[in-house]
């Protein structure tokens, strides 16, 4: 502690020479910690959302490029709503729920509003129930179709029970049991921003594809709980109401298919692909995979950036320490005269560099944490958790790089001629 204390005293009382190196180290560590924490939190959030949403499949128009699961319905392209019926009537194994959506731009009191049409389960329950006879046959077959997969509850769109019948359940289940044609659900943020309450009348206007204006007078049936997604800033109405506002007939932008479990989703995707012409069937795992890939790229970039900044830090520390040894020739010579061994002096230089690495690393960690929270907060209220591994690696590597970079300056210091202290410099 005697020598380390001495070094810290020097760094505190004469910070100038160390500051540049310290800043570069801190930048490297902060870049790593921030990027890693955001990437891992984003991955965790995706995983959480995936768990919440179940084994989902998206049916999209063929030429839609998918960027974000929650924005999968904002591409402006459409597929016929009859595809919903086709899926319902096909009674595929593992299809538990369907959620077709049509999202349009509308206006309320001249403010732009994103309006999403959703179809309540009651609308396609009827069609599902028309399949009773064929379901019965399949169920009584030697291997009941609905039981092929562990966890599969049976066939699609059955009776809703419990919370699924609540309007507010839409935010978590993406399924709504019943919704009147003139009912409107409001996203949490939108409701807060405009002070909207259940029972309010809202007059929405839009422009039909033919260019004619369209209007709908709707009543707020409920405010949805916060989801942390774009849904919080949307309004939701019955799909057929939105279709009337849109004026393009019975079309949807996307059909979300909730499979009973992940085991069936890839098989289901193939079946849906052959059932529905001109669509792109994407499993949620693929969506997640795409986002995870983006995260991984970000992750790798952060490591590359970290490596680059660490290399710069190393060079900077080496240069700072060389200059330091030259500047402190008399000091170091005096220490040698007072009984310090060359090893002691060399060790002091390495310790000082390591201290720059440690302090820079900790400062970088702090900056990285703040940056991660600040940046994470801007993106869909991503709840950022710090990646301890990255933090640890960042700080340890910073110390190691600093120690290694100071090896040559330390050797130079150890080889100093102590007689310098006896001469005029």
């Amino acid at each position: 502690m005697g020598h380390f204390g001495l070094i810290l005293t020097e760094m505190i009382r004469r910070p100038g020479p160390s500051i540049t190196a310290l800043i570069v180290v801190a930048m490297g560590v902060s870049a790593l910690v921030a990027a890693e924490s955001i990437a891992s939190s984003s991955e965790r959030q995706i995983a959480g959302q995936m768990q919440q949403l179940g084994a989902n499949i998206l049916v999209l128009p063929n030429d839609v490029s998918l960027q974000d699961y929650y924005a999968a319905d904002t591409h402006g392209q459409s597929i016929p709503e009859e595809y919903v019926s086709r899926i319902t009537l096909a009674q595929m194994t593992g299809v538990e729920e369907l959620s077709p959506k049509l999202t349009i731009d509308s206006q309320w009191n001249s403010d732009p509003i994103v309006l999403t049409g959703i179809l309540p389960r009651t609308e396609f329950y009827q069609k599902s129930s028309w399949q009773s006879v064929s379901i019965l046959s399949a169920e009584l077959a030697p291997v009941p179709v609905g039981k092929k997969c562990e966890g599969c509850n049976g066939r699609s769109c059955q009776i809703s029970s419990g919370e699924k019948t609540q309007l507010s359940s839409y935010s978590s289940t993406r399924i709504i049991h019943e919704l009147d044609k003139d009912a409107l659900l409001i996203g949490a943020d939108l409701a807060e921003a405009y002070g909207i309450q259940a029972g309010d009348k809202i007059e929405l206007s839009s422009e039909m594809s033919s260019g004619e204006p369209s209007r709908a007078s709707l009543t707020v049936a409920g405010i949805l709980p916060t989801t942390g997604t774009t849904d919080d800033n949307r309004m939701f109405a019955h799909l057929h109401t939105v279709q009337e506002l849109h004026g393009e007939g019975p079309v949807v932008n996307v059909i979300e298919v909730m499979g009973c479990c992940e085991d069936v989703s890839s098989g289901l995707a193939d079946e849906l692909d052959s059932l529905l012409p001109g669509v792109r069937v994407v499993t949620i795992s693929q969506v997640v995979e795409a986002q995870v890939t983006v995260n991984r790229v970000m992750n790798r970039l952060s490591w590359v950036l970290f490596a680059l900044l660490m290399a710069i830090s190393g060079a900077s520390i080496a240069s700072v320490m060389f200059a330091n040894v030259t500047e402190r020739k008399r000091e170091l010579g005096t220490m040698l005269a007072l009984g310090a061994t060359p090893t002691m002096v060399g060790r002091m230089i390495i310790l000082k560099a390591s201290a720059i690495g440690l302090v820079g690393g900790i400062a970088g960690l702090a900056v990285g944490v703040i940056a991660a929270f600040a940046i994470g907060g801007q993106y869909q209220s991503l709840s950022v958790g710090i990646q301890p591994q990255a933090a640890l690696v960042g700080v340890v590597v910073a110390i190691l790089v600093a120690a290694i970079a100071s090896f040559l300056p330390a050797r130079k210091a150890a080889q100093l001629d102590p007689c310098v202290c006896l001469q005029e410099l």
């Binding site: 005293t9 009984g339 310090a340 001629d417 001469q423």
Partner: protein, 234 residues
């Protein structure tokens, strides 16, 4: 206490061999105050460096308390320097970012003395040199005389038996110079030996012995002021 035996130092300057010191043989005993005088570049500092275990001779031996300084390891030599030799420099060589107390503690700190004991020792020494009110001042906040007194206190921190002073009064006013010389003289009376390099006749006259260096050759001039102790000159 310290014995130089046939000590020579030469080095190359370009292609020429320069003899900084030639076969010097002398001893310094406890209680002796030895002044080393000579013109600039005559080898005074070279001699002091070799006596201080910082510059190995080209030939000959230097023995400190029975141990040949340059036949031991670097670590051992550094330890001997710390424990048995005290240096006083012309430029004081205080560490600029340490305060007076920390500067005095430094030799003790290098060898792992605990904080409390080194702090007590350093404070006592600073008190002895009348610097108790300057303990927390950094060298830049002290006068030249105060700095040299801090340097003297630092030199005494490890209670050395041999004191090597390189022009310690060179940068001081006459009052402080007298104080330093007086202090060094007093230290001789504490069973220590002092070897002092100086240009100042007034200082050299206070020494018990005077070694004259000229062109690398060491000769002894007996001073009027006799001090106890043995001497031997080549």
């Amino acid at each position: 206490m310290i014995q130089a035996d046939q000590v020579s130092k030469s080095y190359l300057r370009g292609e020429d061999q320069v003899h900084a010191l030639q076969t010097a043989t002398f001893g310094v005993q406890p209680g002796e105050f030895v002044a080393v005088i000579g013109p600039s570049g005559s080898g005074k500092s070279t001699l002091l460096s070799m006596l201080g275990g910082m510059l190995s001779p080209t030939a000959g031996r230097i023995v400190l308390d029975g141990e040949s300084l340059y036949d031991v390891s670097i670590e051992k030599r550094a330890a001997l320097r710390n424990h048995k030799i005290g240096f006083v420099f012309q430029n004081f060589n205080l560490i600029p970012w340490l305060n007076a107390l920390e500067n005095v503690e430094l030799p003790l700190r290098l060898y792992g003395h605990d904080r409390k004991s080194r702090r007590t020792a350093a404070t006592e020494l600073l008190e002895r040199f009348g610097l108790v009110d300057r303990i927390l001042h950094r060298p830049s906040e002290l006068s030249a005389g105060q700095q040299q007194r801090v340097a003297l206190a630092r030199m005494l921190a490890t209670n050395p038996r041999l004191i090597l002073a390189d022009e310690p009064t060179g940068n001081l006013d006459s009052e402080t110079r007298d104080l330093v010389v007086e202090t060094l003289s007093e230290l001789c009376n504490e069973d220590r030996a002092v070897v002092l390099v100086t240009h100042d006749d007034a200082v050299s006259t206070t020494a018990s012995r005077v070694l004259q260096i000229s062109d690398g050759l060491v000769t002894e001039q007996r001073n009027q002021k006799e001090r106890p102790g043995k001497n031997a000159v080549a």
